[in-house]
C-alpha cells in the first residue's frame, strides 16, 4: 500500500495521568485475552490511535474536559431526590464505594439473572430506591453519573466474565460483532479487527475498545457512552440501528468489553 506502515501502526506512547491525588499509570496495551488469541497478539486502547494533542488532553485531569461532567455527577450523587429525599450518598457514602465496579461490567446480575450495564444499576436505584422516573440511557444526568462512577475504577484492569451465566449473552454479542449490517454490509470486525490501524478517510481505525468509556468526544464537545457509540457505528453502515440500552447492545457491550480484558479502565477518556 502506498501509504505504508506509518499509517498502520498505533502510536507507541505511555499514558500516565496526573490526577488530584497523584499520578496513575494506565495499561493501554497488553497481551490479547485468551479468547482473542487467534485474532490479535496485542490489544490497544483507542488512545493510541489518536493525534498527539488529543492524547495529551488525557494526561492531566486539569485538561480533560470530561472531568467537568464527573464533577456534576458528584453534585448529583450528593443531592437529595425531590421525590423521596434519598440520595446516592445517603445509602452508598462516597462515590469511592463504587471502586472496581466499572471493570467488571457488563455482568449477569446474581439476583435477577439479567445482563446489566452500569446504566441499569443506576436506574435500578433511581427508580426502586429513590422513587424517580428512570433516567434516559443517554441523558445528561446519566452520563454525568457514568463518568463519576467509572472514574472510581480508573487504572483497574477490565475483567468481565464471559463464562457461566454470561456465556449465552457473550455468544450473542460475538455474533453481532461479526454480522454485516446495513446497506454497506459492514460488521464491527470489518473495521475494528481486519482494518484496525488503517485510515478510513481521515479516521485512524482503532480496535474499537470500550475500556475508555464514557469518553469525552471533541467532535461532539460532549460525553459519549459505549451504547451511544455502538448506535452511531451501526447507523453509519446505513443500517436500522439498535436502541441504547436494548438487549442487543448490552450483549454487544459485554462482548466488546471482553475484547479489552486486561486494559485499564480509563475512567473518562478523551477522543476526537
Amino acid at each position: 500500500l502506498s501509504l505504508g506502515a506509518a499509517f498502520a501502526d498505533p502510536v507507541e506512547d505511555e499514558l500516565v495521568v496526573t490526577a488530584e491525588d497523584g499520578e496513575i499509570t494506565l495499561v493501554t496495551t497488553t497481551k490479547a485475552p485468551g479468547h482473542l488469541a487467534e485474532t490479535f497478539d496485542t490489544i490497544w486502547s483507542g488512545w493510541h490511535f489518536r493525534e498527539d494533542d488529543t492524547r495529551d488532553l488525557q494526561r492531566d485531569d486539569f485538561d480533560n474536559p470530561g472531568m467537568l461532567f464527573a464533577d456534576r455527577g458528584l453534585d448529583r450523587w450528593n443531592a437529595k431526590s425531590e421525590a423521596s429525599g434519598a440520595s446516592c450518598a445517603g445509602c452508598h457514602e462516597g462515590p469511592e464505594s463504587m471502586k472496581g465496579l466499572r471493570a467488571v461490567l457488563p455482568r449477569v446480575d446474581a439476583k435477577t439473572g439479567k445482563l446489566m450495564i452500569l446504566e441499569d444499576y443506576i436506574n435500578d436505584c433511581v427508580t426502586t430506591r429513590m422513587g424517580e422516573e428512570a433516567w434516559g440511557m443517554t441523558s445528561g444526568k446519566m452520563k454525568d453519573m457514568l463518568g463519576l462512577i467509572s472514574l472510581q475504577s480508573r487504572g483497574e484492569p477490565v475483567n468481565v466474565a464471559i463464562d457461566g451465566p454470561a456465556a449465552e449473552f457473550w455468544a450473542k454479542g460475538r455474533e453481532m460483532y461479526y454480522t454485516r449490517y446495513g446497506q454497506l454490509e459492514m460488521a464491527c470486525a470489518n473495521c475494528h479487527e481486519q482494518n484496525a490501524g488503517m485510515m478510513i478517510r481521515a479516521d485512524h481505525l482503532s480496535q474499537g475498545q470500550v475500556n475508555g468509556f464514557p469518553t469525552y468526544r471533541l467532535k461532539d464537545a460532549g460525553m459519549v457512552t459505549a451504547q451511544q457509540r455502538f448506535v452511531g457505528c451501526i447507523r453509519d453502515t446505513r443500517a436500522e440501528t439498535f436502541k441504547a440500552g436494548s438487549d442487543e447492545l448490552k450483549a454487544l457491550e459485554l462482548y466488546v468489553a471482553s475484547r479489552g480484558n486486561g486494559l485499564s479502565v480509563e475512567g473518562i477518556s478523551v477522543r476526537h
Partner: protein, 157 residues
Amino acid sequence: MAKRLWVAAAILAGHSAPAFAEISPVDVTFAEGAIEQSLTGQAGDAASGAKVMTTAALGNCVACHVIDAMPDVEFPGNIGPPLDGAADRWSEAQLRGIVVNAKMTFEGSFMPAFYKSAGYIRPGDTYTGKAAQEPLPPILTAQQVEDVVAYLLTLKE
C-alpha cells in the same frame, strides 16, 4: 414481483422514467463478476464520475482508496488498494461489475455494493438509523455507476 416493487419504489422516489429501459439492480447479470452491458445504454461521463467518487453521500470511494490522479482529495483512506492503473488491470465490464457489487469479484470484500437493492441485514434509511423496506434505492443510480466506470477507465499508467 420484486421487479415491480422496485419500479414502484423508483417512481415514488421521483426518478424520471428513462428512455432506455435501465437495468434494475435485480436484473443485473454477472459473468465471473463482470457486467458487459451498460446499465443505462449510454456511455458515462468521467467528470461526473470523479465527483461521485469523492462525495461522501455518494460513492465515497476515497474513504478507502488513494487515487494519485486526484491530488486535491484530502485524507484519502488506505483500506483498499490505490486505484491508479485500474484500467490497465481490469476491463470495462469487470470495472462495472466491481462497482455494482464487488463481492461478485472479491469474495467477502469489505467494499460495499453500490447497485444492489435487497438482501441486506437490517437495512436502514440512508444514515438516519431508521428502518427501511427492501427494495432500497441503490447507493448509486445506474447513470452514476456508468459515470464512475467512465472515470475508472481513465486511470491508466
